[in-house]
Symmetry: C2
Subunit: 337 residues, 2 copies
């Protein structure tokens, strides 16, 4: 840790050390993929899961699996909570007393506010940096795990505006690892993250459920005529319902997103009822989608401070690399033009 | 045509003749693909388009293109209206006087009620069977045309409950051709077709537009975190807005579909506001989508009557082949178990 505390928080390159040993608790799609890619990047890994089938599968694939969470985290400088959100509180309660001092603790869940609250309650002394890799999850379990799952995927990493030096160093250590895995660390607060994913994860899932159901209500003829637009629009309704609820329940920002969506649909309905065209909605939606695809980015070098990093995240940017050179720590990133 | 009129309408195998020469008016994605697959199935074809670029592209690819719609339909026993819906009325007005007697006229548009109305107005003496191949349309124009576009795709073909012998024969001729192209003719009335596509084409497009817009409203952070569910949920917002409106505007059944979808979203919003789970919606949506994917089908042999065919379509079934044998005309089909 920095010996001199300054304002704002800053990090010395010497503090931003590499991860040598990682424990991954939970060996489903995300945890299993983490275990595989971490080992592939030269880190000593050990896994743990409460499900004997997952343990057997990981062991059979040649990965070390510990007999308990306490044994898994022994000697680890990174502990990854990769169990489903409803199990995070129990996992924290179980493992908190066994976390070695200075161990970096992270998670991989969709919502960051509830996990931060659980850490404050059950492991208040942990050095915790919440994480959320935006990786596909249509298939689940160890069998679907893939060390390439995180290539080029955005990975929200939680940082507070008033982060201490130690918190900033922990954030940068984890961001450096995420870069090494080929993913894109996005600095954000927990509240901003959850608000953003309400619109781009929660809402698309609720809309997909509504579409799947409303299509069904049209009867067998409609189900036979259902083609590409129904298929892609309802695709994520294939997700296990308990996962969908873990991404939506309790996220108050989702109510605002739903209000916005309902307003658009209500206006379209009124237009049809008045024999007006839905063209304004179609043009605006088309432009939004196409502009999203065509976003262009430029390189930036943010300062290694919480405020500079959070400004980068707010503007839609992310880090691409952490370089240590003679001038100290250089952060490379990209942001929308 | 059958010389003896009976009740219900029936078709003699001798009347259900093959198509020998087809004119395709409009050489975009669907028309261009039709021109290509029709020639590939041994039919003499000629195309026509008001756009010189489409004419040049089709000619350069070795397809005959007529200098006028009147020249194109000369001698044709099938005429395909493949221009966008807003141009159908003008096209009908222009070509009606030139249709050879007995020519089978069809179209390929998404909504069947407005086209039927235009035919009644501008070509009341035509033997018209409205059609709607459920083929992907994210890319458009001759450049995207593909003779395999229709493989295994449902193809709604409009039949009236009170069809005459001649109308039934025309329907069966076109259904036989659609089977030959590798697609699945689905018997339906125009009103039932438009009601069904409101839920599985119109609604998914309106939801995609609303999602694309609502995601955008979350700002740059959300656009960077947007991943698989936003991408698939908003995919069809990439469709040209004028196409979307041609599939939605004027289809009153879409207001009911929107009401149903809005009700699901409103209930989800209320659940979130009350700190309840959205699990009931997630379970119902998941089951609807998965049951759709897992539908199973059984072979059937419907009678060649309008009522038997329409019952097949209502139950979610389609024809797979028309066989002429010693016993007469046999229709083979599939329907959901």
């Amino acid at each position: 840790m920095s010996s001199v505390s300054s304002s704002p928080a800053s990090a010395s390159p010497a503090d931003v050390t590499r991860i040598h040993r990682a424990a991954v608790l939970g060996l489903g799609l995300i945890g299993g993929s983490m275990l595989q890619v971490l080992r592939h990047s030269g880190i000593e890994v050990v896994g743990y899961d409460t499900d004997p089938d997952a343990v057997d599968a990981a062991s059979a694939a040649g990965y070390p699996v510990a007999p308990s969470d306490a044994a898994a985290v022994h000697g680890a400088d990174l502990v990854v909570l990769a169990m489903p959100l409803p199990q995070v509180r129990d996992a924290l309660r179980s493992v908190a007393a066994h976390l070695p001092p200075g161990t970096l603790l992270t998670d991989v869940g969709t919502l960051k506010v509830p996990v931060a609250a659980a850490v404050r309650e059950f492991a208040p002394h942990a050095t915790f940096v919440g994480g959320h890799p935006l990786a596909g999850v249509e298939d689940t379990g160890w069998a679907a795990a893939d060390p390439l799952l995180f290539r080029d995927c955005p990975w929200a990493l939680v940082l507070d505006e008033d982060a201490t030096d130690a918190q900033l160093v922990a954030w940068l250590r984890l961001a450096g690892l995420v870069c090494d895995l080929g993913a894109k660390p996005v600095p954000t607060t927990a509240a901003a993250q959850d608000s953003a994913v309400a619109r781009v994860i929660g809402l698309p899932h609720v809309l997909a459920e509504a579409l799947a159901l409303t299509g069904l209500a049209g009867g067998p003829l409609g189900l036979t005529l259902a083609a590409g637009s129904y298929r892609s629009g309802s695709r994520v309704a294939r997700t296990r319902p308990e996962l969908v609820t873990s991404w939506c329940d309790g996220n108050r920002a989702l109510t605002e997103a739903l209000d916005d969506a309902i307003a658009h649909l209500t206006e379209a309905r009124a237009a049809l009822d008045d024999d007006r065209s839905i063209l304004p909605l179609a043009v605006a939606g088309h432009d939004a989608r196409v502009n999203w695809e065509h976003r262009r980015f430029e390189p930036v070098e943010p300062a290694p401070t919480a405020s500079a990093l959070l400004e980068l995240g707010r503007s839609g940017g992310w880090l691409t690399a952490l370089l240590r050179d003679d001038d100290g720590l250089r952060l490379l990133g990209m942001r929308p033009v």
